[in-house]
């Protein structure tokens, strides 16, 4: 017999990177929220690499911050190293990456969620969902506590029927030997959800004292570290470097000789692993002509000696892992503290979700994070935030929030997942975004702060600062467009120093800034300085002017795309009643149930002619509906 353990607006199952974002956003939006976790000590745990950000992912963290999420703020308080990547490239692909102090990161998150007034944090294993009249109404834990809510968000990561694999050793487990969640997985299947089996892996960790760093190359952080969060005012100066070393022929020999002992190569049929995060076995099998592979040694924190051996992700037996590690320069005497392993888990096929991350099958149930077939802390956090906002919006009567592909990487990711699905753990890459020039690190605030503010996740203070910045950018652009720079001697000197062709005639400062050699700082030397212009504003002005032509082109493409997004498709449309759409397209449309003609057009197997016919059909107004 269950007991009634309380009524909430929103329940979040899981407290990983998706769960904490979901719960925090929901609570901040005014929904009475409960977050259940298997282990209170493991909130926001990083089971894999100790880093946050990187290309595309780093921009997601900025987006999360612009929307009022927590990942950016917390990593800014807990990093041991910060680097801006791709600084030699264009603004669209620059991104921050931090090495996290894992324990500190967890503490900071735990502290934040514990102190959020609308949020109850509790330890408990959810076994099943409460379903009444086809609607998800709550959850039941193994202790027979029945919690009721209007929305439930499941963010169980890799815990569902998780199985750890190392050589011939295999056992049911969550990551890092945590308790596994079996019943909830079974319950979802009973409820008719289609699950798939994915896998991922992690490398061994070694003791820092046993590494000979002299044989490796230092990888220091930036001298002037930048921050993820728009609210962060102080940076951490005291940084810890990472170290680079390489595998060699001996490493490869060890692996080749023991390949059949690897859990993933033992011939057993296994879940699908990600191509972008291959095990060292995969790398050696697939690229056997490569004489060496990079290995990054990444400290896991300030108060721990554990070092993450990035690049050696493996499911080889522990004994082989020792040999393999010792073959790497600098690691000859390294002591493994934890061995690497592969983990297999259940994921929900994400085409079963609406773009709000609510499941189609069970209204009131949302899923977010690795359970949806993604991998990566940032991807999980981005989904968690969106699911949290939508779950709370549903309760508080707000409009659902769906970010489109031109607004955010988060939008790209969710659209990819729910429209195309994924046959391997999904990771964000900059090449997945067709409007990447618009989805920059520098303009995440301009893209998303208004939304965060509308949903009550951005404070008044921050919003005021944001509005001021926006105005300053516009004002400064106007000012530069008013000022005419004449080819005076001192101006030509600046040009010369910048390596630019001297000016022939007077030019607007605005147009001068478009010259590739010239930066905002150069222009500043030629004209009267603007008043109180922050570095942020300067950067924004320079990027917007320099890439104006390309940005304009991208915006035109977006305008066309958005037109199709505005053509809504009723959720209960009966595709089989439409004459002329190809059979394959009908099957796909029935499965994905796109919300707009734009989304429909991105489904593979749906052709332009099918889209034209669909458009005409919707326009004529007499739409056949599926009987409920």
């Amino acid at each position: 017999m269950t007991y009634n353990a309380g009524n909430y607006d929103v329940i979040v199952v899981g407290a990983g990177h998706a769960g904490v974002e979901a719960a925090y956003a929901s609570a901040r939006m005014g929904a009475k929220t409960l977050m259940l976790t298997l282990n209170l000590d493991m909130i926001a745990f990083m089971p894999c690499n100790p880093s946050i950000g990187g290309p595309a992912k780093g921009i997601v963290v900025r987006e999360i911050d612009a929307l009022g999420g927590i990942m950016g703020k917390i990593i800014d308080k807990s990093y041991i190293q910060m680097r801006m990547l791709n600084t030699g490239k264009g603004p669209a692909v620059q991104a921050l990456r931090a090495q996290a102090d894992k324990p500190v990161y967890m503490q900071e998150v735990k502290n934040l969620v514990e102190n959020e007034k609308n949020l109850t944090v509790r330890q408990g294993m959810v076994n099943s969902l409460i379903v009444e009249d086809g609607i998800c109404k709550g959850v039941i834990t193994e202790t027979k506590a029945a919690y009721y809510a209007k929305s439930v968000i499941v963010t169980t990561g890799t815990f569902m029927r998780g199985k750890v694999l190392m050589g011939d050793l295999e056992y049911e487990s969550g990551p890092n030997n945590q308790r596994v969640s079996i019943k909830l997985s079974e319950n979802l299947e009973e409820l008719g959800f289609k699950l798939t089996r994915f896998k991922t892996g992690t490398p061994p960790r070694v003791n820092s004292h046993t590494i000979d760093y002299s044989k490796t190359e230092i990888q220091p952080g930036d001298e002037n570290p930048k921050s993820f969060s728009y609210e962060t005012t102080e940076v951490i100066e005291d940084q810890i470097p990472c170290w680079l070393t390489y595998t060699n022929e001996f490493t490869h020999q060890v692996i080749n000789e023991n390949l059949t002992l690897s859990a993933m190569y033992s011939g057993m049929k296994r879940g699908t692993g990600p191509r972008y995060c291959p095990s060292i076995e995969d790398k050696i099998v697939r690229f056997n002509d490569k004489p060496r592979h990079q290995i990054f040694l990444e400290p896991e924190g300030r108060n721990t000696e554990e070092v993450y051996v990035q690049g050696l992700s493996t499911s080889l037996p522990e004994s082989v892992q020792h040999e393999m590690v010792k073959s790497v320069p600098g690691l000859e005497n390294a002591e493994i503290m934890r061995a690497g392993y592969a983990i297999e888990y259940d994921a929900v096929v994400p085409t079963q979700l609406w773009p709000t991350l609510e499941t189609k099958r069970l209204p009131g149930l949302f899923t977010a994070g690795q359970i949806n077939g993604t991998s990566g802390y940032e991807e999980a956090a981005g989904q968690g935030l969106m699911a949290g906002m939508n779950a709370a919006a549903k309760v508080t009567g707000k409009e659902p929030i769906i970010l489109d592909r031109s607004q955010a990487y988060i939008g790209v990711m969710i659209d990819d997942l729910v429209t195309k699905g994924t046959n391997e753990p999904y990771r964000l890459l900059t090449s997945r975004a067709e409007y990447r020039l618009l989805l920059r690190h520098d303009n995440a605030d301009l893209r998303l702060t208004d939304i965060g503010y509308d949903y009550g996740l951005i404070s008044e203070e921050r919003y005021t600062a944001f509005t001021a910045k926006k105005e300053q950018v516009e004002a400064e652009k106007k000012r530069l467009n008013r000022i005419v720079v004449k080819p005076a001697e001192e101006v030509q000197n600046v040009m010369k120093a910048a390596g630019a062709v001297p000016m022939k005639e007077a030019v607007k400062a605005y147009d001068l800034l478009k010259r590739p050699e010239l930066t905002y700082e150069h222009i500043e030397q030629m004209i009267e300085k603007g008043e109180n212009i922050s570095e942020d504003v300067k950067e924004q002005v320079a990027i917007q002017i320099k890439y104006e032509g390309y940005i304009k082109k991208a915006r035109e493409q977006v305008a066309r795309m958005l037109k199709m997004e505005d053509k809504k498709i009723p959720a209960d449309i009966d595709y089989t009643a439409i004459n002329g759409i190809a059979t394959e397209a009908i099957e796909k449309l029935k499965k994905v149930r796109p919300l707009s003609v734009g989304q429909a057009s991105r489904i593979s197997g749906v052709n332009p002619a099918d889209i034209s016919i669909l458009l005409v059909y919707i326009e004529q107004g007499n739409i056949a509906r599926i009987a409920n």
Binding site: L85, V93, R275, G311, I578, G580, S612, L615, V616
Partner: protein
């Protein structure tokens, strides 16, 4: 609803004395006006028609004599601004005008798109939705069939090769971006990118040049009918035309005195050239006995060489055999209704293994065999009009042009010193345009390429 301007030939291809290029959309009038020599179309009254000339904006050359109707929204078929450019009948004139409009920035209409717009803009009754949908389906299926037929394996292979080259280049840039610390590949440099885009750009240019020379399917294979007087050249011409319905007559302008007949023989479009001369009973040997005649023959993709069954092989015939040596030809021995005086073995010896067909055009004998021979010659790949006769329709040409332009844009960005990820935007666009030609637009291929080309990951 749509913001772009579409264009298409809106009369049935090849039939009728006039052919119409129709434009619809907000830019219709200004685009037409830009290339029109005559009244200022932007200022003329709605629903009026104007005589003038279409000028090729690139070369500045006069392209076509036309009549242009201007119809302003909303009282038009699509409820958008519509311009209809009335050209001389046949393929050449409208195709040229259409190409010019596309080059100006109009988009080639999808099958049934005018009707679709008419419907979406409320011009067509809702009850007709079903009919509109049927039309789109039917037109698309037909267009696809045509496209498939026109898409020669060689073209698609060539495009695939070029695309793969671009894809590898783009993947290289992507790996630099997404894996900045991955040291297995060097940073893509502007120099290398410049080389790559140039290389592929040149290939595209070649394809387009061939297309521009008119050696393309849509205009037909240049086909000459030769033979001594009275062997039955006119009969052959008439037979081919009657059997296959001539689709063009009289190209006015600079070629006023040359009549070309367009016929479609079992899917092979032929442009029968210089037929005016053939119809006259002048001495063909005299006419082509000199260098100039060799030139005429060389410009032909296919030669139909007619002999008389009723006469022995003459010196003139032998001279003609010399003239066509090394060219693509079919020997037609006509007048089998008369007594045989021609030594067939001798003809075959001269014919060097080319097809020899016997006919009696008067009695309509052997026409099937002749048509089959023409089709065989073409489809077995023997006819080699610059090897690239198959860049076949306006859509392909348009996409090739866009693909090429995107690479030009990329090179401009390189010159401006734009960062590689910006340069790459245009390279990717070029790759996408080429993908549209061969019907492959899957965006996942880049990610597949990325992970098959490089060993990435933590």
């Amino acid at each position: 609803m749509d913001t772009d301007t579409i264009a298409a030939i809106s009369t049935p291809i090849g039939e009728g004395a006039i052919a119409i290029v129709r434009l619809s959309g907000p830019e219709a009038i200004s685009l037409a006006s830009d290339v029109f020599e005559g009244k200022n179309l932007k200022e003329v009254d709605s629903h009026t028609i104007h005589y003038g000339k279409v000028v090729d904006p690139v070369t500045g050359e006069l392209a076509e004599e036309v009549m242009v109707s201007v119809m302003r929204a909303p009282k038009t078929f699509t409820r958008e601004d519509i311009v209809e450019i009335n050209c001389h009948g046949g393929l050449v004139s409208v195709n040229r005008v259409l190409e010019i409009m596309l080059a100006k920035g109009a988009r080639l209409a999808e099958p049934g798109e005018f009707t679709k717009r008419a419907f979406l803009n409320g011009r067509i009754d809702l009850s007709q939705a079903e009919a509109v949908m049927d039309l789109i389906r039917a037109k698309t299926d037909k267009a696809m069939n045509v496209a498939l037929k026109q898409m020669d394996g060689r073209l698609s292979k060539l495009i695939q090769t070029l695309r793969q080259e671009l894809l590898e280049t783009v993947a290289h840039v992507e790996v630099n971006i997404d894996y900045p610390e991955y040291d297995d590949v060097e940073e893509m440099t502007h120099t290398l990118m410049e080389e790559k885009t140039k290389e592929v750009g040149l290939e595209l240019e070649k394809l387009l040049e061939v297309a521009a020379q008119g050696k393309i399917l849509r205009e037909g294979l240049a086909t000459a009918i030769i033979g001594r007087p009275n062997v039955g050249k006119s009969s052959l011409m008439n037979t081919l035309v009657q059997e296959n319905k001539a689709i063009v007559t009289e190209i006015p302008g600079t070629t006023r005195d040359i009549i070309e007949e367009y016929v479609n023989v079992r899917g092979v479009p032929l442009r029968l050239v210089d037929t005016a001369g053939i119809r006259e009973t002048e001495d063909i040997v005299e006419r082509i006995g000199v260098d100039r005649s060799r030139q005429v023959l060389k410009e032909s993709d296919l030669i139909l060489f007619v002999l008389n069954y009723n006469e022995a092989l003459s010196d003139e015939d032998k001279k003609l055999f010399e003239a066509v040596q090394g060219l693509e030809y079919i020997v037609i021995i006509n007048k089998t209704d008369l007594e045989q005086k021609l030594d067939l073995e001798e003809v075959k010896a001269f014919a060097e293994g080319k097809s020899v067909v016997t006919t009696s055009l008067i009695e309509e004998q052997g026409v099937d065999e002749l048509e089959q021979a023409i089709a065989n010659t073409f489809f077995s790949g023997e006819v080699d009009a610059g090897d690239l006769t198959y860049v076949s329709n306006v859509r392909h040409i348009q996409l090739l042009k866009q693909a090429k332009q995107a690479l030009v844009d990329a090179r401009e960005a390189i010159e401006l010193g734009m960062p590689m990820d910006i340069v790459q935007i245009d390279v990717t666009r070029s790759w996408e345009f080429m993908g549209e030609i061969i019907g492959d637009t899957a965006s996942d291929s880049l990610i597949d390429q990325l992970f098959s080309q490089f060993c990435l990951g933590k």
